[in-house]
């Protein structure tokens, strides 16, 4: 079905409380953002704007939203430095037959004033966003990269839901790899590996050795330098 009339005309560029048509995807995006957080620590939705595009059997929502993080006193726990409360996020959500799938999430702290496009301030806040102008066929491209990943590493998933979840993790990991790439001072290349469908937490828990941080193990004597006769 074509996108709801009020969306097409909904001033998709105007900030404001989510219009009824955006409410569903906006709430889903917030739910995914707060996933795993205890009550009282969850962010709440602020202003939303967005647009919708047909994609296959469903609709692809591109949302920009401000999220308000609750006050956080413990710097060791806070997602943000205590002084910053508002996040500016962009989400891409695929709505197929009433089922939502998060394809992309990108968030960063901003000043509490939300600026609009005309003075371009906010794009400078998320440089990666402005550098990557979100080509229209982004989702199609990601789906194809994910398909190659499944073939290369012979990956299968037990249910469709698991596959959808893994696709959203994969897409989010591609963003992470892109950031690691941008910040690397060497010649390393980062991208798709056999671990690309694991969340950071899964990867850390399964493959790494956090025990090494806790201690240094049995004390050993220092080796003599090699040139020591």
């Amino acid at each position: 079905a074509p996108a709801p009339a009020e969306l097409r005309g909904a001033g998709a560029q105007a900030w404001g409380p989510p219009s009824p048509a955006l409410l569903g995807p906006a709430r889903f995006a917030l739910e995914m953002y707060n996933r795993g957080r205890a009550a009282g620590t969850r962010a709440v939705l602020g202003a939303v704007r967005g647009r919708v595009r047909r994609a296959g059997r469903g609709s692809l929502y591109s949302l920009e939203a401000t999220l308000e993080e609750p006050p956080c006193n413990d710097p060791m726990v806070c997602q943000l430095p205590v002084s910053k409360k508002t996040l500016l996020c962009s989400f891409e959500i695929l709505d197929e037959l009433g089922k939502h799938m998060l394809l992309r999430r990108d968030c960063g702290p901003v000043d509490t004033k939300v600026t609009d496009d005309r003075n371009e301030t906010w794009t400078s806040v998320l440089p990666l966003l402005s550098k990557d102008p979100l080509p229209q066929d982004f989702s199609v491209k990601m789906a194809s990269v994910f398909k190659n990943f499944l073939i290369t590493y012979n990956r299968t998933y037990a249910t469709k839901e698991e596959a959808q979840w893994r696709l959203s993790v994969f897409v989010s990991n591609m963003m992470r790899a892109q950031k690691i790439q941008a910040l690397d001072q060497g010649t390393a290349r980062y991208g798709v590996t056999k671990f690309s469908d694991l969340t950071e937490e899964e990867f850390r828990t399964i493959y790494l050795n956090p025990y090494l941080r806790e201690d240094s193990g049995k004390k050993m004597r220092l080796a003599k330098p090699v040139n020591d006769p």
């Binding site: 590493y153 990991n173 992470r176 790899a177 690691i180 910040l183 690397d184 001072q185 060497g186 010649t187 390393a188 290349r189 980062y190 991208g191 798709v192 590996t193 056999k194 671990f195 690309s196 694991l198 950071e200 990867f203 850390r204 828990t205 399964i206 493959y207 790494l208 050795n209 956090p210 025990y211 090494l212 941080r213 201690d215 240094s216 193990g217 049995k218 004390k219 050993m220 004597r221 220092l222 080796a223 330098p225 090699v226 040139n227």
Partner: protein, 214 residues
Amino acid sequence: APPTWDWRSKGAVTNVKNQGMCGSCWAFSVTGNVEGQWYLNRGTLLSLSEQELLDCDKMDKACMGGFPSNAYSAIKNLGGLETEDDYSYRGYMQACNFSAEKAKVYINDSVELSQNEEKLAAWLAKKGPVSVAINAFGMQFYRHGISRPLRPLCSPWLIDHAVLLVGYGNRSDIPFWAIKNSWGTDWGEEGYYYLHRGSGACGVNTMASSALVD
């Protein structure tokens, strides 16, 4: 230290192994070091058992993690290491069924190595591959090339992965450590990771150690 060195081309390094879904990197880092020490001091390259360490090294935590220094001590106390073939890898902890008669190698001691990367390179070139522990930041998505993450992102204080230094050199004037990982050959450069050398990148110089074989 010589400008470049690679124990892989000198027969002191076994094939890249795969720890599977288990936090047993510490065991692979130690067996890799002992394999090198046994080869350089006793002349035979044997692939040694990580499963024996998972099952019988009671000081460490098998798939939940462990320390190379504890593992050296366990090898000494047990009386040696069996080969990979005799005590093959499962990727999860079982009851210990080590038998001293089957042990093919032993170690006499273990030492902590210098945190000075030049001295470390000199030690490696003269004595053999070195067990180290690093911060694994970025390694989930590493494909190839010399990695050099920003220091705040790859803090030397947040060590969480043990690996094996097998060589060092320069690529286009960028100094690197050649690191044998234990995630299989379908990760990184045929299972190897290349990390910037000389800047303490990701804490590579903070937990260097080796067994000693008479």
